[in-house]
């Protein structure tokens, strides 16, 4: 039934902008996500560079304090809701989940397209607030300030609500796909670890996001109807907002990191030319992280006035997250042990992930410790910690994943030398930007402030210079991708010698993925 003409693939089989905007093909929807998320990343990145530039010197450098607060808010909101949450699942997950499990598409292709449109609608509304009343609440929208500020809180939180719906629908789609669309012989213990990671992420998306949805709706109602649920002046409790918000937003941290861990599992086994060590342990530790993540939200609120008992319990539970995370870490390192490692650009990013994520994770344990957190709370130490996880973890994995799968997605090879250069720039730039922030935090520099005392200036300058290196790294990455699309040499079916199913089809894959329904008789990493 599928067209067997070997020159036809998902890119050239249909033509015209409409064939993209109304496409139900998971691969094309993945590309739509890729283009839009790259655009949002540019916006969020500009905001980040603006923040760092302002903090280059003591006193007002570039903008007013109000403008600074807006930059900070949009940097956070865009990067979290429009880049990192949809990032890996919606781009790489959409494209590769069905290919990984031998399916022709995701379970609900129309819902998949709807998810993209919902993200676009939400993003358009969020960006619209820039032109109405800019928000200055930070991405967390804490009450009671968010009730009182002149920014368009209601529009913004409804925008995030809609983007949340998009995330829920993607998760729901992936769960059903993993359960129901695996090809013959593809048991749950033969799916690639990236699929396990996406599956665990999808569970979190479906179970956690609705709580954010109701929280944001109530906040919108607070603005529109003044219902008083989060407003202390009317008998409401602003701390309840924090509880609700973090009940979603802590699991959301794992929505952001689990897919990255999945990508890294793929990269490490491929470029070590060795079967992954501890497949089951890695698979179940994803589910383990997902499960524990629902019981740790209180660690964002140690100094919010919650009871000491709650603080102690949350502190203990938070440290539990370290167990499944360390299981993954040790399994990756064991996979490397005596592997035939090649340092191509995807692998460089994967190794960068291991290094940076370890720092992010260990400082996370420090922050989980109640007594230490009271000192570090709301300082740059926290900022450095979560950037090590979100950027050093998720974005490094996203970049590694891009470089790994670009040959499959577009059927072309990119400039390996330049790709390695982007790794060097991003990796060094990242450490130069964020490592000083650990020290600044330990010295007591509070986060989110527009200005600081002169004692913090030199470290802030180093940090700002680092941000330029990161910016340059990502700009060159953009060039690498464009250069690859324009001039890239034709990619073979399987340039890395990987063993998972997507590498058995042509690059780029045909519209229906597989000309014949695949039948699987072995695990995903049969190297040696």
């Amino acid at each position: 039934m599928a067209n067997h003409d070997s020159n036809l693939n998902y890119i050239n089989e249909f033509k015209g902008i409409k064939s993209w905007l109304f496409s139900l093909d998971h691969k094309r929807i993945g590309i739509l996500y890729m283009i839009s998320v790259m655009f949002f990343f540019l916006l969020g990145g500009i905001a980040a560079l603006g923040i760092r530039l302002e903090l280059f010197s003591v006193g007002p450098t570039l903008m007013t304090a109000d403008t600074y607060n807006q930059f900070m808010t949009y940097h956070g909101a865009i990067m979290v809701f429009m880049v990192i949450v949809p990032g890996i699942p919606a781009i790489l997950g959409n494209f590769f989940l069905p290919l990984h499990i031998g399916a022709k598409d995701v379970a609900f292709p129309r819902l998949n397209l709807l998810s993209w449109y919902m993200l676009m609608l939400g993003a358009a509304m969020a960006i619209a607030t820039l032109f109405i009343h800019r928000l200055d609440t930070g991405w967390t929208f804490y009450t009671p300030y968010s009730i009182k500020t002149s920014g368009s809180t209601a529009l913004m939180v409804v925008a995030v609500f809609i983007m949340g719906m998009s995330s829920v629908l993607t998760g729901l789609n992936f769960i059903a796909t993993v359960h129901k669309l695996r090809c013959e012989g593809m048991t749950m213990y033969r799916i690639p670890l990236f699929v396990w990671a996406l599956y665990s992420t999808a569970i979190l998306q479906v179970l956690a996001t609705p709580v954010l949805a109701i929280t944001l709706l109530l906040l919108a109602m607070e603005r529109i109807l003044g219902v008083g649920i989060f407003d202390p002046a009317l008998g409401g409790d602003p701390v309840l907002f924090q509880h609700f918000f973090w009940f979603y937003s802590h699991p959301a941290v794992y929505i952001m990191i689990l897919p990255a861990m999945g990508v890294v599992s793929e990269l490490i086994t491929t470029f070590s030319r060795k079967t992954i060590f501890g497949y089951t342990a890695i698979a179940y530790s994803s589910l383990g992280i997902a499960a524990v993540s629902f019981f740790v939200w209180g660690h964002h609120m140690y100094v919010s006035g919650q009871s000491e008992t709650a603080g102690i319990v949350f502190s203990f539970l938070t440290m539990l997250v370290g167990v499944p995370t360390a299981i993954k870490m040790f399994n990756w390192v064991s996979t490397l042990y005596r592997g035939s490692i090649s340092f191509q650009s995807p692998m460089l990013f994967a190794l960068g992930f291991l290094f940076l994520f370890m720092i992010g994770g260990v400082t996370g344990i420090m922050l989980a410790t109640l007594a230490i957190d009271v000192h570090f709370h709301d300082t740059y130490f926290v900022v450095a910690h979560f950037h090590y996880v979100m950027v050093g973890g998720t974005l490094m994995a996203l970049m590694g994943g891009f470089y790994y799968w670009i040959p499959k997605m577009f059927g072309k090879m990119y400039n390996e030398g330049l790709a390695r250069l982007t790794f060097v720039l991003i990796f060094i730039g990242f450490n130069v930007t964020f490592f000083p922030q650990f020290i600044l935090g330990a010295m007591g520099m509070p986060r989110r402030y527009f200005d600081y005392i002169p004692a913090y200036e030199s470290l802030n300058r180093i940090s700002t210079v680092g941000s330029w290196l990161i910016g340059a790294g990502f700009l060159i990455s953009l060039y690498v991708i464009i250069d690859c699309l324009v001039r890239g040499k034709k990619a073979p079916e399987n340039p890395w010698g990987s063993k998972t199913l997507e590498w058995t089809v042509a690059s780029p894959p045909p519209h229906h993925n597989f000309h014949h329904d695949p039948v699987v008789s072995a695990g995903p990493y049969e190297y040696r």
Binding site: K104, A107, L207, P210, V211, G226, V227, G228, G236, L240
Partner: protein
């Protein structure tokens, strides 16, 4: 459902057969219901917390609601769940005429529910029981200064539920339209089944809302 015949319905290309499509769709719908329950769950949790903080104020608020109206609405919705279930049953049996009647009755019940809700709302507005900061304590003669919080919950919970009733009604209108066009038969009725599940969940939420808002006090 395992008797679904693959020759009767043109299933999407990525499924093995019509039955495969049916069970997958149903799983998707149930997952969506999980998100609905969790979303309302957040609202219920907030309600319980404030109920524990201000029990007398909540009792005062509950007294202002007319339990007879709420009770009538409960009966209406339970009956509508029954007709919805019958509607699916008759489509499975191939009795198109009875299915039409039952689906129509379900829509009618939804409409009755919304009309009663409308009268309740306008009556409350008339008496000045607005949500949160718009409730004038002196005007309504409230004993508790933050009675607006109770009505904040009342309008948020019943309002969100009301939106779901309207959504459910629109969905039933849609499946009724497709049913009249002859899209469904004993071998293919996935959308009706899905909409039915949604409608039952919406009813179930009301079954919890009614005692909490009207009776517990």
């Amino acid at each position: 459902m395992s008797t679904v015949n693959s020759h009767e319905h043109h299933y999407a290309h990525h499924f093995k057969n019509a039955d495969h499509e049916f069970v997958t769709s149903k799983q998707g719908i149930w997952l969506f219901m999980v998100t609905e329950i969790l979303m309302f769950g957040g609202l219920f949790v907030a309600f319980f917390i404030y109920h524990a903080m201000y029990p007398e104020m909540f009792a005062e608020g509950a007294k202002q609601l007319d339990w007879r109206m709420g009770f009538t609405n409960t009966l209406v919705l339970i009956f509508s769940s029954f007709t919805m279930a019958l509607g699916i049953h008759y489509i499975q049996k191939g009795d198109a005429r009875k299915a039409t009647w039952n689906l129509s009755a379900t829509i009618l019940c939804g409409a009755i529910f919304m009309v009663i809700k409308y009268f309740e709302y306008t009556h409350k507005f008339h008496l000045g029981f607005f949500p949160g900061k718009y409730l004038d304590v002196a005007r309504v003669g409230a004993e508790h200064a933050n009675l607006g919080l109770y009505f904040g919950f009342y309008y948020c919970m019943t309002g969100l539920h009301g939106i779901h009733v309207l959504t459910g009604m629109s969905l039933i209108v849609w499946v009724l339209f497709r049913h009249l066009r002859g899209d469904f038969n004993p071998h293919y009725y996935t959308p009706v089944e899905g909409v039915g599940i949604f409608w039952h969940i919406v009813d179930l939420v009301w079954i919890f809302l009614f005692p909490l808002l009207y009776l517990v006090g």
